[in-house]
């Protein structure tokens, strides 16, 4: 990972003890005792122990762990809904654990918006008034916060629902309101506490995709908590893996999958590792649209627009794959008054056979946004594999275990 990116939040040596004698618990911890022994000896629960990590500006950092791993405690320490026992949390030069009550309020208003697992919408407020909440608290005047909340609701696709009450909405829509409330607040950091865990699987996938889209537009620094590896792999730029209140591994999804730090992580991703026997065929989707080599550039461009894609695979009369046309090249072809697109094709794409193991595909994507083409022995285009589909398949394999 690029270590020179600007750091938004610095967490250093963060620990949290639940109980009345935290010092004692930390002493035992320093002597090398673990959570269960400390609980036995002192009655204190070591919630988090010596956590350090950075959150980079604009990244989506996933903190993932099973229940009891301390992930919910950790996210609540970030905005001090829970007081920490020791350690620093530095955001833009301010150390959150040492802030005064007043400075803390100010810090929360400026830096943090939070989305909750069970939505935590105010049932007595309309959708609009929920979305306005953060602004209202900050004393933004009525007309302005009205406008901002409206924009946020539009962004999450809730136009027309402004005057409804939360109990009139489905779970997915309620969480959109939760998201709008967070976006309207325009804080520098978005905290999402198991934000999609209460939604059913299909809606959850949609919400993940939408979050990724929003994220690519806004580049908001986001800390996302989840217990679901699939979700973590799908949306995380980087993942912090927690176990029993300690950090086990920090890395990109690829790093976690390919270089698990220890047996715990290995066991964790075992389900995903099953994917080594899965093949490209299982994740393949039919091609939505292709172009013919004899097509004119305008036709090809038109098709791309119709399907909102920015590149299109080009085949010959027998559906043999001969190249990839990017929207940009198509525009150039139009400018150059070319009759056909055949002179403007690119060969810079990946093609695999249907038998290709899925985990190999994962590395192939790199920074390319084109789907991988799946072809048979005669070079005929069978379908394409997009990055999300690989993760879906990996996740499904994990669930079947």
């Amino acid at each position: 990972m690029d270590e020179t990116r600007p750091v938004k939040i610095q967490v250093r040596g963060l620990s949290k003890v639940f109980g009345k004698q935290p010092k004692k618990a930390l002493e035992l911890r320093d002597q090398g005792l673990k959570r269960p022994e400390i609980l036995d000896k002192t009655g204190q629960t070591l919630g988090l122990s010596n956590i350090s990590f950075d959150v980079y500006e604009g990244e989506l950092l996933v903190i993932m762990g099973l229940s009891g791993s301390g992930k919910s405690t950790l996210i609540r320490c970030l905005n001090r809904l829970i007081d920490t026992t020791e350690g620093d949390i530095i955001i833009d030069g301010e150390n959150i654990p040492t802030l005064s009550e007043k400075a803390l309020l100010e810090c929360r208003r400026r830096h943090f918006s939070m989305v909750f697992q069970n939505f935590a919408l105010f049932p007595h407020r309309t959708v609009r008034h929920n979305a306005e909440f953060g602004l209202e608290i900050r004393g933004v005047d009525k007309a302005e916060r009205h406008q901002i909340a409206q924009n946020a609701l539009t962004q999450v696709g809730l136009d027309g629902w402004e005057d409804a009450y939360p109990n009139q909405l489905s779970g997915g829509m309620q969480q959109r309101v939760g998201l709008a409330r967070a976006l309207a607040n325009d804080s520098t950091v978005l905290l999402m506490d198991e934000a999609f865990s209460a939604l059913d699987p299909l809606i959850r996938k949609d919400m993940q995709q939408e979050l990724l889209q929003l994220q690519s537009k806004m580049q908001k620094t986001t800390v996302f908590i989840t217990h679901d590896l699939d979700e973590a792999l799908n949306i995380g730029d980087r993942i912090v893996l927690l176990k029993d209140g300690e950090v086990v591994q920090i890395g990109t999804p690829e790093e976690i999958l390919t270089q698990p730090a220890d047996d715990y992580v290995r066991r964790f991703i075992e389900g995903v590792d099953r994917s080594r026997i899965l093949t490209a065929e299982s994740a393949m989707r039919p091609v939505r649209s292709t172009a013919r080599e004899s097509d004119g550039p305008r036709t090809a461009l038109h098709r791309m627009r119709d399907h909102t894609i920015d590149s299109i695979y080009v085949t010959d009369r027998d559906r043999r794959l001969i190249g990839l046309l990017e929207a940009e090249s198509a525009s150039k072809a139009i400018d150059a008054k070319s009759e056909t697109i055949s002179d403007h094709l690119s060969q810079d794409f990946r093609k695999v056979s249907p038998e290709e193991p899925l985990h190999n595909l994962f590395a192939m994507f790199g920074d390319k946004s084109y789907p991988i083409a799946v072809i048979d022995e005669q070079q005929r285009l069978l379908g394409v594999v997009v990055k999300g589909a690989v993760l879906d398949e990996l996740a499904r394999a994990g669930e079947q275990q």
Partner: protein, 277 residues
């Protein structure tokens, strides 16, 4: 063995005597103030012709709770009018409304404080138990030296007896606000008072209203008892019927109390339901 009995009664009596003599100016001022309030409310309600007040109440019922309650209100109040119990009914209504107002004005802040402070909560709850379980008659005895015979003493006793549910329900309502909503308010940087007025109070409103409803019902149940120390109203009609052994008159006044009770109950409950929960 001869264990001397503890002179608890003596202590309380001398305490009350001391209070009465020491604070007689205060109690007299309160008494005068309250009496004026009662008189103004009473007189203005009685100044209205019966049919006008009846119409107003029916309209209120219709707006708040619908046609059925409005029809019930008209029928019930017309019956009371017909029985010649209109003025006692107004006096009772005044007493109940006034006592409830005083009780709520005290109960809301106390209930809120008890919800927010655990120490206060532990202090207040046994006091409420005491207030509610002590036989209501007992409050009448100190009320007389404090405020003299009449409506003010009746209101004093009624307030003490009927206030506990309003406090309890307020406390309960605020404590029942889901933790995650409190967390949400905190996470967005709400101050204590913002949290109270934008989240905790609005969300506890239905419960608070239920408490106020209970307070009204308890206040109404005190009217007959209050008549024993000279409060006017339907209670004194009942009391008179008892003394003269006239069951017919007693039931007439009793039915008027029931009608008033049902009316107030349905009306306050509908207030509660129109709030969105």
């Amino acid at each position: 063995m001869n264990i001397p009995s503890i002179p608890l009664g003596d202590w309380i009596e001398s305490g009350l005597t001391w209070l009465t003599s020491e604070y007689s100016s205060v109690t007299r001022a309160i008494s005068r103030f309250t009496q004026t309030g009662i008189d103004v409310l009473n007189d203005s309600l009685m100044w209205l012709p019966e049919w006008a007040l009846l119409g107003l109440i029916a309209l209120l019922c219709w707006k708040q709770a619908g046609v059925r309650l409005a029809i019930g209100a008209v029928a019930g109040l017309a019956l009371i009018w017909n029985l010649g119990l209109w003025n006692p009914m107004i006096e009772t209504l005044t007493l109940v409304v006034f006592a409830t107002l005083v009780a709520v004005v005290i109960a809301l802040p106390v209930g809120i404080a008890a919800a927010l402070s655990n120490r206060l909560y532990r202090l207040i709850m046994p006091i409420l138990d005491f207030m509610q379980t002590m036989p209501a008659f007992v409050y009448l005895i100190p009320a007389i030296p404090f405020f003299g015979i009449g409506s003010v003493s009746a209101i004093f006793a009624t307030v003490i007896f009927s206030m506990p549910p309003a406090i309890r329900f307020t406390t309960l309502g605020i404590r029942q606000v889901p933790v995650e909503l409190i967390e949400a308010a905190d996470a967005y940087g709400a101050t204590r008072s913002q949290k109270l007025f934008k989240v905790q109070l609005p969300l506890s409103l239905p419960t608070v209203m239920a408490g106020i409803n209970q307070t009204i019902m308890l206040a109404l149940s005190m009217v007959v008892i209050a008549a024993m120390i000279g409060a006017d109203g339907l209670g004194s009609e009942v009391w008179r019927a008892i003394q003269r052994l006239r069951p017919g008159d007693g039931f007439e006044a009793g039915i008027a109390v029931v009608i008033l009770a049902m009316l107030l109950d349905r009306l306050t409950q509908s207030l509660r339901k129109t709030r969105r929960s």
